[in-house]
Amino acid sequence: MPDTTGPATRAPSAPAHSNAALRALLDSLPGVDEAGVHARVADLATRSVKTTAKARAIDLAISMVDLTTLEGADTPGKVRALCTKALLPDPTDRTVPPVAAVCVYPDLVRVAVRALESTPVGVASVASAFPAGRAPLEVRLLDTRYAVADGATEIDMVIDRGAFLAGDYRKVYDEIVAVKEACDRSDGPPAHLKVILETGELAGYDAVRRASWLAMHAGADFIKTSTGKVSPAATPAVTLVMLQAVRDFRAETGRQVGVKPAGGIRTTKDAIRNLVMVNETAGPDWLDPHWFRIGASSLLNDLLMQRAKLTTGTYPGPDYYSAD
């Protein structure tokens, strides 16, 4: 479990276990006005982060990246290369910090764990029948247990959007609780659970806020926007609503939950806009890889190029960085 750094000291309130009780809980959340969210996002997007602030922001963003490969064609070799890059993103500049974690399919966890043993870089695995989650619970739990047993330190699971949209909140809740239990490990701390809401399939921001609270109540260590397989993925507005949710959840329960936008964040500008939203919505407490991650693959190279531009004054070309 993450530290509870919030101001409140109340124990997490475990809601009663019926659909009605969960609905009452979620319905009590304030609504979200779409135009208002978009206006706030647009306002925050005008923040100018330049020069020294930009250099710090780039390093912070690099340290928050979950460097991800989730392709059918992934190979052990590709994952090993990714791990090398995760540890030392720019071989020509050792001042570049490592990323937060690599994120791979369960069958490649062992490869990543071996490559990253005794390093600060975590191994995250999308488990529980990623990306659709459309498998019997037993299968999803087994998927999770294998990944954990193979050494994954973080598990990214996707909720049952169908059940959520149908109002079967209990099913969603119970599955998260079950996967969370499957994250336990006898030989060490449990894997952190990131719960993917797949916001592109939820209808609107009210649902994003409610799904966030449902996941947090069920024990999510992180709430994550998207699998990356559904469009739209991590829009700034969705991330903003989720940042409000973790802020409010900590105020109410005392437990701090992390946020991970994933998918669609490709440029340094996108990443910095996310950091600005974190800073001005959830607050500076979340400006830390423990509490904010960016799920991305191509983003890292852009961060590296922008970083090189700041340190050397000239733009390197994309071919100066490994394409994976």
């Binding site: 609504g31 135009a35 208002g36 982060v49 600005v276 800073n279 500076p284 407490d285």
Partner: protein, 495 residues
């Protein structure tokens, strides 16, 4: 003007952690602005020599002198009005409507071309943050000219049943300092589209973008005399309004001056549009989308340092959520960044003048004296210039001065209510009637409330939004007439 380092940058103290690292000073360059040392008036298409009597326009963020402008004499006004009359009789009323429109389109385009320069100049002269001049004032000013340009050859469609409307003649226009160029656009664009000519007086403390606009008129090759700009203080405005050669008066400013103008015009054939003060109620119901409501409260009172006649200066929050709203509001206000108006990350700029600062301080003191509880976030104010921290007063009732008088500054008075009826009653319990806000997620409650509010502009689930197509203006002592949209043209046409 030399490109000097920014005078003041303030980072708010809550950013002592990792957040403090996120922003470095991001000043917009002043190099794009070039000012003369002293300005005359813009009469009959030419700048006059600077007069003997001048005013100094200062940058309210650092009290540095920006330029001197002339104080118009009676003779200056006579010449300006005569030039406008000649242009009206000789040129403008004989210019085909579609050609008139094309001049306005040109002006709109030139404002867009010079957007950066105008934004920086406006921030320098007014003290408002560059992000507002860049994203609100200047684009809206250009949009107003573009909108009214298209009306010039469609005047038979302005008023139902008035197939051949006629312009009024020479319009005297007196504008305030809170949105200098935007208010100029609100005044000049419809006047010209309708076929009038104008003599405009910008505010004493913010004349510079109006003088830049004079250059734009030259660049657009607008016929001489169609637009005349005279500068000066209140006495100049009074003399212009009272000038026997004008047919129409348009004024935006305080209710006090509005009354005076209405008296001056009594018994004359001059028509008037008055956009005056306000004490807008921002009503937050318990079912509101709280995060957006908090944003709206902030926008309502802290946009443009609260120098907004339609500001949501009275927050009416339903008692059952008052505590939560106040908590979130204070957290949000603490994140506002006050400082150098030219810094792109500044949310709150400088108060426009020493006089205005004194008035705000006076009323805040009255609020404290009457038992209100004053709160501001920890906020270091620059040592030079005119500054006032964003301020929230709680423990306020309708009887308190700060709940009744227009403060025209970043000071919010918070009141609570229990029922919708009580909210409406409190909202309407003011001699003003300019604006109001409604925050609720319940569809039927929006029109229920809006129908009962005696105010000319009502924002539901948003606040302080403006658009050239949207009529703006007040009920009761907030003035009369509308600016913007089709309605805005009616004020410049005879039936």
């Amino acid at each position: 003007m030399s490109d000097r380092p920014t005078p003041h940058t303030v980072s708010t103290p809550q950013e002592s952690g990792p957040g403090a690292l996120l922003y470095a000073p991001a000043p917009e360059s002043r190099a794009v602005v070039s000012l003369r040392a002293a300005y005359g008036h813009f009469i009959d298409g030419e700048f006059t020599e600077p007069g003997e009597k001048t005013l100094v326009s200062v940058n309210p963020a650092d009290e540095e002198k920006l330029a001197e402008v002339s104080v118009a004499t009676e003779a200056d006004l006579d010449r300006a009005v005569a030039a406008a009359r000649r242009a009206y009789d000789g040129v403008w009323s004989r210019t085909s409507p579609s050609e008139r429109g094309k001049y306005l389109y040109r002006i709109s385009r030139i404002i867009q071309d010079r957007a950066r320069e105008l934004a920086v100049l406006e921030s320098l002269d007014n003290g408002k943050p560059i992000k507002e001049t860049r994203d609100v004032d200047i684009p809206l000013a250009a949009a107003h000219f573009f909108y009214y340009a298209g009306w010039a050859d469609k005047l038979p469609f302005v008023s139902p049943g008035v197939p051949a409307p006629r312009p009024l003649g020479v319009a005297a226009q007196v504008i305030p300092w809170n949105f200098p160029l935007l208010m100029l656009a609100w005044k000049i664009a419809p006047a010209l589209a309708a076929g009038n000519t104008v003599v405009l007086k910008p505010a004493e403390t913010t004349p510079l973008t109006a003088l830049a606009f004079a250059e734009i008129c030259q660049e657009a090759e607008l016929p001489p005399g169609v637009v005349n700009i005279v500068t000066g203080a209140g006495a100049t405005g009074r003399a212009l309004v009272a000038h026997p050669g004008v047919d129409k008066v348009a004024f935006t400013g305080s209710t006090e001056v509005g009354r005076e103008i209405a008296r001056t015009l009594a018994g004359t054939p001059k028509r008037a549009t008055l956009e005056l003060g306000g004490k807008g109620a921002n009503i937050v119901y318990s079912d509101a989308a709280i995060d957006q409501a908090v944003e709206g409260i902030v926008t309502g009172i802290f946009f443009n340092q609260g120098h907004v006649c339609c500001a949501g200066s009275r927050l009416l929050v339903q008692e059952s959520v008052a505590e939560e709203v106040m908590h979130r509001l204070k957290e949000r206000v603490a994140r506002l960044r006050l400082g150098d108006p030219l810094d792109k990350n500044t949310d709150i700029g400088a108060i426009n003048s020493a006089a205005q600062l004194a008035r705000i301080q006076d009323l805040a003191e009255a609020g404290r004296d009457e038992g209100g509880e004053q709160w501001s976030p920890p906020c270091e104010l620059p040592s030079r210039g005119y500054w006032f921290a964003p301020t929230v007063f709680t423990g306020i009732t309708q009887a308190h001065r700060i709940a009744r008088e227009e403060i025209f500054g970043p000071v919010l008075s918070v009141l609570t209510f229990r029922t919708p009826e009580e909210a409406v009653e409190k909202a309407n319990n003011t001699p003003y009637g300019l604006s109001a806000g409604i925050w609720t997620e319940k569809a039927g409650r929006i029109p229920w409330t809006a129908n009962r509010l005696r105010a000319g502009v009502i924002w539901s689930n948003t606040f302080n939004k403006f658009d050239p197509t949207s009529p703006f203006g007040g009920y009761r002592e907030s003035g009369y007439g509308r600016e913007g949209g089709r309605h805005g043209l009616e004020a410049y046409l005879n039936g």
